[in-house]
């Protein structure tokens, strides 16, 4: 399918008719069957769906970690890696070494990143420990700190915001809603209050199809009825 001119000029992320099948042995499971929606700048989209509906899969596809079986993800703004419980780090390396690696591959000065990470994570000397020894909350802090230091235009968040304590949630709110109002956010979550608090739109994922609602309340009632 030819790319339309309108797709190219605008800053956005466009999922065009995405299909994803997973094959284990002889069983072919279709997780996504024709997902189509757009993330515009400043969009705060909550991603709702029951267990196994394909929320993490969709986020991994948008982040480019996995490839769709059919369809395309068009990225016209810079987009973080999926911030979640797994991925993105080398477990045997320390927090500092991971920060250094990520600074290198994203072409950012390490000194600035180091300062920001130390300030945001408040992990202190634990940054000298291998990441595999971190709790999920500590990992979340590190992942958020690194991705905030890189300054993406769109952040993909898979569940992980809820594992943080009060202090962390407060910091996330500051960073995302006060300092970075102009960024986009895609937030997969089972916590309806989080979605209600953070998002101005919502996508409900059911039977491999995504439906976008401009009204978060409406999306939540649809999701609850599933």
């Amino acid at each position: 399918m030819p790319t339309r001119a309108a797709d190219i000029d605008v800053d956005m992320i466009y999922c065009r008719n995405i299909y994803k099948n997973y094959r284990t042995g002889k069983i072919d499971k279709a997780v996504l069957r024709g997902v189509e929606f757009t993330i515009n700048p400043r969009d705060r989209i909550g991603l709702l769906g029951r267990n196994g509906a394909g929320k993490s899969t969709l986020i991994r596809l948008i982040g480019g970690v996995e490839m769709p079986t059919a369809g395309r993800v068009v990225r016209k703004m810079s987009c973080s890696w999926p911030l979640g419980f797994t991925g993105g780090f080398q477990g045997s390396l320390t927090g500092y070494d991971n920060a250094r690696f990520i600074a290198r591959i994203y072409d950012k000065p390490y000194s600035e990143m180091r300062a920001f990470v130390e300030d945001f994570t408040e992990l202190g000397s634990q940054l000298h420990m291998p990441v595999k020894l971190y709790s999920s909350g500590m990992r979340a802090r590190l992942a958020f700190a690194l991705s905030l230091a890189i300054e993406f235009e769109c952040y993909l968040i898979d569940e992980v915001i809820m594992v943080g304590d009060q202090n962390f949630q407060q910091k996330c709110r500051e960073q995302f809603f006060e300092k970075r109002e102009d960024r986009a956010l895609l937030l997969a979550s089972h916590s309806l209050s989080t979605v209600q608090k953070y998002c101005n739109k919502a996508v409900v994922l059911n039977d491999g199809i995504a439906t976008l609602y401009e009204d978060v309340g409406e999306a939540i009632s649809i999701y609850e009825a599933l």
Partner: protein, 260 residues
């Protein structure tokens, strides 16, 4: 063209970062670190060389047995490590694929590069030590020696680019990887020169780029003591064909790769 050079710049950054990361993870900070890459094959080759000297006497066909074994064994350890570490390399590095600019080929390239650098340093180091004891010749033709290494490394890289995606596609291939190392021993000219073989066997071995590389290396080392047999057309041809097959396989496997 601009996009290509930008892409190339990013890939070089990624490869550099991966190289450093690989060194830190594999050898640690408190360890003797990178030196170990050199010490390990040297220790191995030195011991085998010693045993051979006792079994066969210090000289064979006019050159030192230790020099012959060391010069064959170090490239073989490079091959063994490269093949072994290519198995399931995409899965073991999976968490890093969360960063879109990191490509699966970078992993293979970095592994082989590290192994090659280590092996060449071990080779140089061994040569310096053994020359001092007068059991190793001063290379008579450094150009041929380097060219031989280049042929050898290029072929090992191309095999790894095929092995890595195959090991993701099938468990059987993963288990067969160690065997592939043993298969390659007679095909790699480690323990013999092509000149010692009957002509028809020699002709067949010219299909192995490893033999061509090894013959060139030994010629560069021993000079006119060796009559080298090599076929660069076949060596490059096979390397390029394998590389192309590997690139296609990598691309296909990446599309269906599931990371947990």
């Amino acid at each position: 063209m601009k996009r290509f050079s930008e892409g190339l710049r990013i890939q070089l950054k990624v490869i550099q970062a991966l190289l450093i990361r690989e060194l830190v993870t594999r050898f640690g900070r408190e360890n003797i670190g990178f030196l170990w890459v050199m010490a390990e094959p040297l220790l191995f080759a030195g011991l085998v060389g010693l045993v051979w000297t006792f079994v066969r006497g210090p000289e064979n066909n006019g050159f030192s047995v230790i020099a012959f074994v060391v010069s064959g064994y170090i490239p073989l350890t490079f091959l063994r490590h490269s093949f072994g570490r290519s198995a399931k390399i995409f899965q073991t590095n999976g968490p890093l694929l969360y960063h879109r600019q990191v490509k699966v080929l970078d992993f293979i390239f970095v592994r082989v590069t590290i192994e090659a650098i280590g092996a060449m340093m071990a080779y140089t180091f061994a040569a310096i030590v053994l020359v001092f004891f007068d059991v190793f010749p001063v290379p008579s033709n450094v150009g041929a020696l380097v060219a031989g290494w280049a042929v050898y490394v290029a072929f090992v890289l191309s095999v790894c680019v095929v092995l890595a995606p195959l090991s993701e596609m099938s468990e059987v291939v993963e288990k067969l990887v160690p065997i592939s190392v043993y298969i390659s021993i007679p095909l790699s000219g480690v323990f013999n020169l092509a000149a010692w073989l009957p002509p028809n066997a020699r002709e067949a071995l010219m299909w192995s780029p490893l033999v061509s590389g090894m013959e060139l290396m030994r010629y560069g080392l021993f000079g006119d003591l060796v009559t080298p047999y090599y076929d660069l057309t076949k060596a490059f041809g096979l390397t390029i064909v394998l590389m192309l097959i590997g690139l296609i396989l990598c691309r296909r496997v990446r599309r269906t790769l599931t990371l947990t």
